[in-house]
């Protein structure tokens, strides 16, 4: 097998109609003549997919996604067969491998699945016999053998995945000679054609040009994608490269508009692309309504509850930070969690961790039962025992990592894998895995990359960081979920207000800066507390002896800014808090000002009576470390501990000896 393999994806722009088949044949033949073996991944012939979707809508109900997928997939099967026939007629021997024979497996939603396996041997056997193997794009089979689709533009994803698995070169053949910095169809100066562009920059371009999931897969597998027109070789290369343009006179080396560094992305986020005034700080659209062009045709935004430009900008940035397709901003963290939990239908179950924010416990224990949803709690640190609690009725699994307030760590990738196995064994749909990442923020940890389906945050905490906003965030890649969440949010009216969105956008600019410093200070404070005998059960993922330290280090970029420890009892805690001069007693955490909280009587007082055994002990103290000089923090804590220690000894002596 010496001839190099190239995966050529021929999309609907190239296979625009049956009459375009000869052009596609010529392109494949060109590579065969050049000494390549070709795996041709094809989309449906132009217009077919939309026509099939229209038929599905006309003759079918909205609910049956599976039948719809089967129908739509026939478009790709048709074009693959037609291409193979046309190639053979042109004396280029070709073989069709439908998704079954190619072993293309994908998991996830029926219309938005992700490829997980392909039968490389089957393809190689095919290429040993003939120079061209044709595979339908866009579709695959799931574990149960059902037809699933890979999302809008999914043939790109098929092509990237197959190329990655084969270790082959990859080219997406289009009707334009490569990528442009902007859509050429839009008004404005003629956009320049890109010679090279980094994966991250390609993600800024419209999804219709190249599917974002395909680019992300290419990035994670470190695959280059070529984009070229038929019969041309001056392709745009997407890969680990700096951006550059094609130019008739000279090559202009251009820095990417969206670079890879997260600090740059945080600072450079353009909240108002297309704003004629080009303000560097986004305008605040403090408005309830928007004028409509016509009473008959909705245009743009109509009502802030449903959509607001300032909130839109925030959600775009939050999605970008989580590297997710969708983010929704709510009026509070609880509103965000309630929205996710609200996806679970009556009669179903939720499995949740046992160390959770008190408000979450209250929601699960006292609100959900009214809707006939039962929540079970277990310790997610023991993955097997935890997953064994998943029943056939479990539709959602909710954990925090690190947990509030004990800083317990959950091995998210292992949990995600174990849930999939358990669901397969039970023969049910895998429950949605939701991770509350509030103690980390996406700067330090990205649960979606670890295998979670949904991530929630109380943005009130470190995301905003300035203690002036109450807000919540939900982020996900799952199209259906995002759509349902958006629908409910609009119907229930829980979206984040414009001004709060504006303040949160402002706070995000310094996210990296704040967390770097807060985390460093927390490490100093934790180190100090570790040496104090008055303190027991010190919990901080940055300490080597923290039980979850290794797992956390694998799945995050740092231990964060929250730690907890225990004093003798609640009286000691009260004395301690009273002696502190710098740290105020407040609920909440993550702001630039440090604070102290006694969860038993404050943040976790809301744990329902039925779960009192999971409540934090009365002597537990949670510290949130801010931006103050760490020496000042240590001095304040030290002094207060000295006084509390002396008081304890005095009381013990008075009581007749310790």
């Amino acid at each position: 097998m010496s001839a190099p393999v190239i995966v050529l994806k021929l999309g609907g722009s190239v296979l625009s109609c049956d009459e375009a088949l000869p052009q596609a044949v010529a392109e494949v033949a060109r590579f065969v003549r050049g000494g390549h073996r070709v795996v041709a991944v094809v989309s449906a012939i132009g217009g077919t997919t939309d026509a099939l979707l229209a038929k599905a809508r006309r003759w079918g109900g909205a609910a049956d996604g599976e039948a719809q997928a089967v129908l739509v997939a026939t478009g790709e099967t048709q074009s693959a067969a037609l291409l193979a026939l046309a190639l053979s007629k042109a004396r280029v021997p070709a073989q069709v491998l439908d998704v079954d024979r190619a072993g293309l497996r994908a998991l996830g939603e029926v219309h938005d699945a992700r490829p997980v396996a392909v039968d490389v041997d089957a393809i190689e056997r095919g290429l040993a016999a003939v120079p061209v193997v044709v595979i339908p794009g866009f579709t695959a089979r799931d574990a149960q053998g059902r037809v699933v689709l890979l999302g809008r533009g999914g043939s790109d994803l098929t092509a990237v995945f197959v190329a990655a698995e084969l270790g082959a070169r990859l080219r997406l053949v289009k009707d334009v000679p490569g990528l442009y910095e902007r859509d050429p169809a839009l008004p404005g100066p003629a956009p320049r054609r890109l010679r090279t562009v980094h994966w991250d920059e390609a993600l800024c371009l419209d999804e219709r040009i190249v599917q974002h999931a395909a680019v992300r897969l290419a990035r994670s597998r470190r695959i280059e994608i070529e984009i070229a027109a038929v019969d041309r070789d001056d392709a745009t290369r997407i890969g680990d490269v700096r951006g550059a343009f094609f130019d008739e006179d000279a090559v202009a080396i251009v820095a990417p508009p969206l670079a890879t560094g997260i600090a740059t992305r945080l600072v450079r986020f353009d909240a108002t692309p297309g704003d004629v005034h080009r303000p560097t700080s986004p305008p605040l659209h403090q408005t309830a309504t928007f004028v409509q062009e016509s009473p008959l045709r909705p245009s743009g935004h109509d009502y802030t509850r449903s959509g607001n430009p300032t909130r839109d900008a925030l959600e775009r940035q939050l999605a970008q930070l989580e590297d997710a397709r969708h983010a929704l901003a709510y009026g509070s963290g609880m509103a965000a969690i309630a929205a996710v939990v609200g996806l679970v239908p009556t009669g179903a179950e939720i499995l949740a961790g046992d160390d959770l924010y008190g408000g979450t416990s209250r929601l699960l224990g006292q609100i959900l039962p009214r809707r006939g949803v039962v929540a079970r709690h277990a310790d997610p640190r023991d993955i097997d025992a935890f997953v064994a609690c998943v029943s056939k009725r479990t539709r959602l699994v909710h954990v925090e990592s690190p947990s509030n307030p004990r800083l317990a760590i959950v091995d998210v990738p292992r949990l995600a894998a174990a849930l999939r196995e358990r669901a397969e064994a039970l023969g049910v749909v895998c429950p949605i895995l939701c991770v509350d990442g509030t103690l980390m923020t996406p700067y330090l940890q990205r649960p979606l990359e670890l295998g979670a389906d949904v991530v929630v945050h109380s943005a009130t905490k470190a995301l905003c960081g300035h203690g002036d906003v109450t807000a919540g965030v939900v982020a996900t890649d799952l199209e259906n979920l995002a759509r349902e969440l958006a629908f409910s949010r609009n119907a229930e009216g829980t979206a984040l207000a414009p001004f709060e969105s504006w303040l949160l956008l402002r706070g995000l600019k310094t996210l990296a800066l704040r967390l770097d410093r807060q985390q460093a200070s927390a490490q100093v404070v934790a180190g100090f507390l570790a040496g104090r005998s008055e303190v027991s059960s010190l919990a901080y993922p940055g300490l080597a002896d923290h039980p979850g330290a290794l797992v956390h280090a694998r799945q995050s970029r740092g231990p964060g800014f929250v730690l907890s420890f225990e004093l003798e009892d609640e009286h000691a805690v009260e004395r301690f808090a009273r002696e502190l001069r710098l740290l105020p007693v407040t609920v909440s955490f993550g702001a630039v000002g440090s604070s102290l909280c006694c969860p038993a009587t404050m943040s976790h007082a809301s744990i329902p009576p039925a779960r009192r055994e999971d409540a934090p002990p009365p002597g537990l103290v949670r510290l949130s470390i801010g931006l103050e000089d760490p020496e000042d923090l240590v001095a304040d804590l030290s002094r207060a501990l000295d006084i509390v220690g002396r008081t304890c000894v005095r009381q013990a002596v008075a009581a007749g000896g310790a």
Partner: protein
């Protein structure tokens, strides 16, 4: 305001009747003061973040003398919180907060000078300051002499019998010339004139003019203090209570007090000032070093560079080796070439303002100093090819890559100048 000689200025800080909490916070480190100063939990509700006192007026008891806030043009609780925070940062009395840096400078001059008096201003100064001197003060009979402030003897030579106030910027906008504050302060004190330092570029994190002997420190809070491109504001700090009081009288008469909402936003921005400033400074030094010697640049100026003419003064005068976040480059080209460079920038934003989280690039000749008379511009060394870079908080490699690519990609005509 009479033009009689000013009373001798005392540099000793006066005792303030601070709350115990404010007094405690003032005893803490710089970062702690930025986060906490001026922001005692609200007395009424315990709110950790001070309320925005968006109210014009305050009910008075009527039956006795009212000692609380009366009218927001005179004073406002949220603005007072900002003033306490700024004062605590510089370890001095609460500041006087204005609606812009220009309003602060204007009030300072009107509080200290009258018709017939003279002002000495560094010849390298923000264009707006020079515009104030030429277009507003001169017709009012207050004349300005522009002097090379990088040489203290020039200032000494320029002080005359009518001089009341010396105003210098250090580093100066935009050439980054430094003024030796201690030396100039000694001269000013000996001659009985006030020294005011515009500390916008370094902020109290980088420079303490009052500790070096200046009478007044003024900043545009629009810049690093707010740091988020969100507000316009100015503030004056001083140790002389009489001067501060005169400033407040001028301020209430002209109506140039900062608004409660802007003050609140600025207070929030102030919380991260030390960290932002240090990062801006670190990035600027790294990028300045990388740009030094670039074939398309005639010069790269940053007070942290060894090649900087006043490097010795910089290391003496600037705290903790922080030389600020501004770099000034002289492009080897003409106006067209410089414009081409600016147009080729993809990451950096070409805009007025500085000190914000994103990198901002300014062309002084046509932007900030466009209103400065041409001869003064030339004396200040502000050519058409001078470009000022306010280095932001992006990853420095990305900022540098953008500048380098713009230098490569622009069409720079090689013109011998």
């Amino acid at each position: 305001m009479s033009s009689a000689a000013l009373p001798p200025v005392s540099l000793a800080p006066k005792a303030q009747s601070l709350s115990p909490r404010d007094a405690f916070i003032r005893s803490q480190g710089l970062s702690t003061r930025s986060v906490r100063a001026g922001r005692a939990p609200d007395e009424t509700t315990g709110a950790v973040v001070p309320p925005i006192c968006q109210s014009t007026t305050f009910a008075q008891p009527g039956s006795r003398l009212h000692d609380g806030p009366t009218y927001s043009r005179v004073s406002n609780p949220t603005v007072s919180a900002l003033e306490e925070a700024l004062g605590a940062l510089e370890e001095t009395s609460p500041a006087v907060a204005f609606t812009s840096g220009m309003a602060a400078i204007a009030a300072l001059v009107l509080a200290t000078c009258a018709a017939g008096d003279e002002l000495i201003v560094s010849e390298v100064a923000y264009g707006g300051t020079i515009r104030l001197c030429e277009r507003i003060l001169r017709p009012l009979g207050i004349t300005t002499r522009y002097v090379d402030a990088s040489d203290p003897t020039c200032i000494g030579a320029a002080i005359g019998p009518r001089t009341k106030l010396v105003l210098v910027e250090t580093p100066a906008n935009p050439t980054l010339d430094l003024a030796d504050v201690a030396a100039i302060a000694a001269i000013a004190r000996a001659r009985g004139v006030l020294l005011a330092v515009d500390n916008t570029f370094l902020t109290p994190v980088g420079l303490r003019p009052l500790e070096l002997g200046a009478d007044v420190s003024v900043v545009s809070t629009t810049k690093y203090v707010d740091g988020h491109d969100a507000t316009t504001g100015g503030a004056v700090t001083a140790r002389d209570e009489d001067l501060l009081e005169r400033l407040r009288i001028v301020r209430k008469t002209l109506g140039s007090i900062q608004s409660p909402f802007e003050a609140w936003l600025t207070l929030q921005g102030l919380k991260t000032l030390p960290f932002r400033f240090r990062l801006h400074a670190a990035h600027a030094l790294e990028i300045a070093r990388a740009l030094e010697g670039h074939p398309r640049l005639r010069s790269v100026r940053h007070p942290g560079l060894r090649s900087f003419p006043q490097a010795a003064l910089a290391s003496r005068q600037h705290a903790d080796g922080l030389h600020g976040g501004i770099i000034t480059i002289d492009i080897d080209g003409d106006l067209a070439g410089t414009r081409s460079f600016l147009a080729s920038l993809r990451l950096c934003t070409v805009a007025e303002n500085l000190g914000a989280t994103e990198t901002l690039v300014t062309h002084p000749a046509t932007m900030t100093h466009g209103d400065v008379p041409a001869d003064l511009r030339h004396r200040a060394g502000i050519s058409d090819s001078l470009v000022r870079i306010s280095v932001g908080l992006e990853d420095p490699e990305d900022i540098l890559a953008d500048i380098l690519s713009a230098l490569e990609g622009s069409t720079l005509a090689r013109v011998a100048s």
